[in-house]
């Protein structure tokens, strides 16, 4: 059926794969009608998709350095766009973002702007130049451009702090989904998630991660869009929700005031009985409008963070040329746009399903015992993600008596809206795909930096390829395991940890990366000062604010990257200017990087 090289047959291979997945969904739907239990359907969806990814990972196994580190630099533009979109859209985007918007409204929509606007910076400031450089990892660029092991080590440090914060959130997300879908305790489920993640990346490194990420993108986008369209049509809100939900948005505001949003408050004693991490589903939407800085500062941090996160940047090392790297950024954002523009629609539909008394699915105003008897309520209550309590003792569920975890919005909406269970199974598979694909990229980014930049470049430059790749795999395993152990502790929510990761990356890496290309005078001393002081000051600010510090300029624990990156910029410029200019060879190297044609700065295999 498939002749010739794999790369030439990509559209056909993934076309067949997509068709096969749709057939699988239909088979499951038939099985549900025939009486298959909801639990079994969930297990089938998660197990089947994870098995496919592991299979792709096994097919892509390799023992060559450039295949392991940069997928042989032959990933076509559009497919790299899909892989980047999957790499990018994490458990936070898939599972938690609609929830964030759902609970906090306009303020959290800054994440949508920030997580997309950052790609303009990636395309214009960094990706094409780093591709021309020909590096394997981001610290590889820093180490070669500035010279010296200290610069390389500092870059590895920032990368590790940012990516590790991020990866614990992703393993947490895989654990949440696996625990609900497979019905196992969270503490065990995180290790099930970890095992699936490692199966995709261990054997084939970047090559395996690339081809599984494309497969994961296809699953996650189907899983996100299908319920949005279905619920919208079922509710009669419009056949194309993105263009037709204006009335529903207005209706939510109307219902909120009707149900007494803002006027009815819960007492502290009442709230103490609500399980940790759950929130009431309504907050005033207008608050953020009055303080634009809150919105803008969050968007700025997410944008600069996007342009500094190594697992995204390294995806553009895998394209065949500088030109394709640039275009590939556009495709990445297009594929991300498909999901992000749907998140607010899902949040709207989900909220309305619960709130509107005219809909059969609405629960506000119904009797508490009826709600407690609902199947889906019992499931999600058991998973500690939903809670009701009759605070005022009138037997009716009021708006302020219903509580839900952010993670449940996307995962539980199909059930709440009365869709067949097969859709919930599909959504669980999609969330799993989103979290796994990002975790893969992150774990690989960390282990590649440690194995290439520390082991090979600093400790043992004479190591043979086979030995390097074994070291890389051992590190991959250890990092994944450490991530899972920390995820099992559940220190911070998914969305919170992800936002921190962006702030860490921005504090330490944004200016050293950008100035490495755009400012020839930047030198090693400046870059080291920028990375270390940026990271330290950002972290110090975070700790200070977390421990009750007042903060300044309205910078919160979610936007501490603003402080970190400013310190980084100032210290980098000052230290660069008071120390010696980079030598002529380095200056020539920067000139080289700025011209798209010709050989890469670093040799093809290094």
């Amino acid at each position: 059926m498939i002749k010739g090289k794999f790369i030439d047959n990509l559209p056909k291979v993934y076309g067949i794969y997509t068709g096969g997945f749709l057939v699988f969904i239909i088979l499951m739907a038939i099985a549900e009608q025939a009486g298959m239990s909801a639990k079994l359907i969930g297990i089938f969806f998660v197990a089947f998709t994870v098995f496919i990814y592991a299979f792709i990972g096994w097919l892509s196994r390799t023992m060559q350095a450039d295949a392991y580190y940069v997928a042989g630099r032959q990933v076509p533009t559009v497919f790299n766009g899909m892989a980047t979109a999957a790499d990018w859209m994490s458990g936070a985007s898939f599972v938690a973002m609609a929830g964030g918007i759902y609970f906090k409204g306009y303020g959290y929509m800054a994440l949508l702007v920030g997580w997309t606007g950052g790609y303009v910076l990636v395309a214009s400031l960094l990706a094409p130049y780093l591709r021309k450089f020909g590096c394997y990892t981001v610290p590889d660029f820093i180490g070669t451009r500035y010279g010296g092991n200290l610069a390389r080590l500092s870059a590895v440090l920032v990368l590790t702090v940012a990516s590790f914060t991020y990866v614990t959130a992703q393993i947490n997300a895989t654990g949440t989904i696996a625990s609900v879908a497979l019905d196992i305790p969270f503490g065990i489920a995180v290790y099930v998630g970890l095992a699936s993640i490692l199966m995709c990346s261990m054997l084939g490194g970047m090559r395996a991660v690339t081809w599984t990420q494309v497969a994961q993108y296809i699953v996650l986008i189907i899983a996100y869009l299908l319920p949005v369209f279905w619920i919208s049509n079922k509710m009669g809100a419009g056949f194309f929700p993105h263009f037709m939900l204006a009335d529903e948005v207005a209706r939510i505001a109307e219902l909120e005031s009707q149900f007494g949003l803002g006027s009815v408050k819960n007492s502290a004693a009442d709230l103490a009985s609500v399980p940790k991490g759950l929130a009431g589903i309504t907050k005033a939407h207008s608050e953020v409008n009055t303080t634009p800085w809150k919105f803008i500062s969050l968007a700025v941090c997410m944008m600069a963070g996007t342009a500094s996160l190594p697992h995204v940047m390294m995806r553009y090392f895998t394209t065949p040329s500088v030109k394709t790297a640039r275009r590939s950024v556009g495709w990445s954002l297009f594929f991300i746009f498909l999901l992000y523009s749907s998140a607010p629609m899902l949040a709207t539909l989900s909220k309305l399903s619960l709130m509107d008394p005219n809909l059969s699915t609405g629960i506000i105003g119904k009797s508490i015992s009826d709600v407690q008897a609902l199947d889906w309520y019992q499931n999600w209550n058991q998973a500690n993600l939903m809670f009701v309590s009759d605070f005022n003792g009138n037997g009716t569920l009021e708006l302020n008596e219903f509580f839900m975890g952010g993670k449940a919005v996307v995962l539980a909406t199909p059930e709440i809206a009365g869709l067949p269970y097969v859709i919930s199974g599909l959504v669980a598979a999609g969330g799993m795909a989103a979290a796994m694909s990002t975790a893969d990229g992150l774990v690989l980014a960390i282990s590649n930096a440690l194995s290439h930049d520390i082991y090979y470049k600093i400790i043992n430059p004479k190591a043979e390829t086979a030995k390097r790749l074994i070291v890389a795999r051992v590190l991959l395993f250890l990092i994944g395991f450490a991530g899972a152990s920390i995820a099992a502790l559940e220190i911070q929510g998914i969305l919170g940890s992800v936002i921190w990761a962006f702030d860490f990356a921005m504090s330490g890496l944004f200016f050293p990366l950008v100035l490495g290309v755009w400012w020839k005078r930047a030198n090693a001393q400046g870059a080291v000062a920028g990375m270390l002081l940026g990271l330290i000051s950002g972290t110090a600010y975070l700790i200070w604010v977390r421990n009750g510090g007042a903060g300044f300029w309205g910078v919160t624990q979610l936007t501490f990257g603003i402080v970190g990156s400013l310190v980084s910029l100032v210290s980098m410029v000052i230290v660069s200017l008071i120390t010696k200019a980079p030598d002529a060879a380095t200056q020539r190297m920067v000139d080289e990087v700025r011209v798209p044609s010709g050989k890469t700065v670093l040799a093809k295999s290094h």
Binding site: A246, N289, K323, F337, S341, D591, V595, G598
Partner: protein, 87 residues
């Protein structure tokens, strides 16, 4: 000025234009969140601030990157810096 310096100057100017457009739609307009919310201009019936955050700015970024890439390719071509196959 050498050919390479000219190429870089054009590239840099192109960057500034791109970043200016980016700034307007990612940061600039959100200083006016309250004004946008109150505006009578409601695309597809959504409040303008809501529309820009969930579709408007996002779509503009996608178009902006493709436009940026196209123009940068033209600049590279003009100076003979286009990559050949097998580079």
């Amino acid at each position: 000025m050498s050919k390479q310096a000219q190429h870089w100057e054009k590239t840099r100017n192109h960057l500034f234009v791109t970043l200016a457009i980016w700034f307007v739609f990612s940061i600039g307009i959100f200083f006016f969140g309250a004004e946008m919310e109150a505006s009578n201009f409601r695309p597809l019936g959504y409040p303008l601030s809501y529309y820009m955050t969930c579709q408007g700015s996002l779509g503009i970024f996608v178009i902006l990157i493709f436009w940026f890439a196209n123009r940068q390719e033209k600049i590279d071509e003009e100076f003979g810096y286009t990559e050949r196959e097998g580079d």
